[in-house]
Symmetry: C3
Subunit: 306 residues, 3 copies
């Protein structure tokens, strides 16, 4: 039995097969409409996250299965002092697979070590959120037709952004991926990722301060939020915040075949005027998130559909 | 694609067809038990309302579909600052239709303007709650066999009562409906409804202070709550509150074929001793609420059942 | 139509049939996978209890039915002042059966008196929790092959422990059940249970202070939590707490065919090192809880499966 704690738990070949499956699901959804009849997913969200929770529930319902679970810790047994290990053993009697979000790093790993059903890490604190990364990979592959030979811009808070770190670690496994790291000095990608992930894998990258500089050469622009409170001082924030807001004017600098991704929720880092640009792919990304979660559930449950 | 924001979004003819459909659902529920197989409703309740939420969920489940959603804003992405527009675009990737309750007037309308799935306004602040009005119409039509040639008493807080305003606006489209407006002076129907809706449509109405005065002539009595804090002073409240409490004694003044409706929850404005009176129709009204929501879902999803 | 408020609502013969049914469900789950197609359970949890709620939801989903409900009172109409009687009349329009947990003793009984669907008491304050007792009975019967001729140790807080009181009342109906009551003096079984239940039924029992003393003769050890705040003083707690913690060393005193039960959640009264002991049955107990709830739902809905 397998679990997924990190996007790197699956080899490039395994991910390829999973993305092929997601692609087939996209094309032939009816073929999979009863693949998980009679099966249940438990969504154990110790920390609320509507989008992620509903994406998992949608994935299971699309496969013909059903859902049990909780949406926040106060309605769970955690309030009564039960350990995550005990909870997952109980849930193993109820469901066939489980998606767990927990504010504590490593909680899903602890759960998986005693679980008799597959556990999906649906986000553990600032640590990992593998299905977001799988979603990002599938979106890029679906839009560009490949995961290699790409120039990928990562914009915003590269210091604390969990999704960015995971995406980099996942993409360095493909050939000729170049990164353009777009952030204020204060929010640069941490040196341990630059050194241990990028340099160690001989991956090409450059760092720029302004989004405009980077835009013309990008195949993919991955936007994230820049929170005001992350800046050292108010002056710097005021001076620089516009550098990281994507609007129509900046989109004119980009290639006609560039695509914009965002893990959502977005606040104001992408102007709503960009939404109607055909290159805006952040809502399609949500749809790919459903397909890849369907493929992941089928893979972990070892359900074959012919 | 259509949405429903107000009960007036549908013409009298369209409502007739929808109520015919609800009647057929009541008679032949099995015929519709798989009409929405594989479809999903998202119940997006930014403000809790158990009855309304469960009524929508029951409606979809009765049609063979399934449910995703949230029951209060704190477990939603709204807490992270996401706009209603972005949320509905995300939900459009998950569900086939959505019912939204929101404390802010107009929020469901904003959602419908960018949604790629039908949006049902399940209550937006004190503004509209169209499926309550559809429920009221279906209940009256089912009990009386018609929506015209009726004398309808509306009792309680006619000033702030959203359901009463909507019901009046919906009923003036039928012939020979007469209203008896039963309320304290402080909670009279607002002049803009008396003038713009009743007078403008040449609808007959009278205003009375005491429920007893009105009861003998009514075909339908629509009760609502009179909240103490709506009165100008404590003395008035004490003096008048019994005027608006329906009990067994008052029911003796009413016709044997009058029916009592109430949007629920009731607090004490209808004495529990009235519950066993065959004219008490407020719990049957809940059942009609399920049928009309089933009919509405089928209509908006353009599902035909033969 | 029947409800279940107390485990004693069913005769020994009826319970036998229900446990036979649960046993058949365990052996042939597929036979029951569509027994409740098109039916709905409403889980009305005015007080959160994840395990119990999910157990009921799992039971109904395993039977092919579906679920509506709420997980805590704040998202229910109770907040708007609706009575439990009105709520259940509304829910009767939505669901086919209901499981209600309520902090107030007697609330499910009030509901059942006006309900037109079967009501299951899923815990009312410190009063009754019949499906926990049915779970305990089924677990013992499944593990030992019988409910008579057993020596059953009950350990921990016997004064306030609702599950222990219910289990005793249920087990005295079987022949030759002997109880060993293991608790500190402060938390002894109340005299009204010793006298009115045990003595009145001529049931053999002994009371001991230390778990070690009792262990060698037990067929079943039913563990419960001893809360620190229940002791008269800190010294007593420190002196005695280890008496009531089950660990590997204590397990060596027990018979090879003794089984350990616990209603869960456990905190530290059973050391995790005991989990791998084949005699530890508290997680299997959760599984039996699903089977007995499936059998109960089928029984109350009068669904026959051949």
């Amino acid at each position: 039995m397998r679990h997924i704690m990190s996007p790197l738990d699956f080899s490039v070949e395994e991910l390829d097969r999973m993305m092929d499956l997601a692609g087939d699901i996209e094309k032939h959804p009816d073929k999979y409409a009863h693949a998980c009849d009679g099966k249940k997913i438990a969504t154990l969200f110790y920390e609320p996250s509507t989008r992620t929770r509903l994406s998992f529930e949608t994935a299971m319902l699309n496969l013909g299965g059903s859902v049990i679970g909780f949406a926040s810790a106060d309605s769970s047994s955690a309030a009564k002092g039960e350990s995550v290990s005990d909870t997952i053993r109980v849930i193993s009697c109820f469901a066939d697979i489980c998606a767990m979000r927990h504010p504590k790093e490593g909680a899903p790993l602890v759960a998986s070590s005693v679980s008799s059903i597959p556990v999906i890490n649906a986000g553990d604190g600032g640590h990992q959120h593998p299905t977001q990364t799988l979603t990002d990979l599938l979106t890029i592959r679906s839009l560009k037709g490949r995961l290699d030979h790409l120039t990928i811009g990562l914009c915003g808070d590269l210091k604390f952004g969990r999704t960015v770190h995971s995406l980099i670690s996942a993409l360095v496994r493909y050939t000729k991926v170049k990164f353009v790291l777009i952030s204020p000095e204060e929010l640069r990608l941490p040196s341990y990722i630059r050194e241990d992930v990028l340099d160690a894998n001989h991956v090409e990258y450059e760092e720029v301060i302004r989004l405009e500089e980077a835009l013309p050469e990008l195949d993919i622009l991955y936007m994230t939020r820049v929170q005001k409170e992350r800046f050292f001082n108010e002056d710097d924030y005021v001076r620089m915040k516009d550098f990281y807001i994507l609007d129509k004017a900046k989109m004119e600098l980009a290639r006609p075949d560039m695509h914009v991704l965002h893990p959502l929720p977005r606040v104001n880092e992408i102007s709503v005027e960009v939404d109607s640009d055909p290159r805006a792919a952040y809502f399609r990304q949500v749809q790919y998130g459903v397909y890849i979660r369907m493929a992941l559930i089928l893979t972990l449950l070892e359900v074959k559909v012919c």
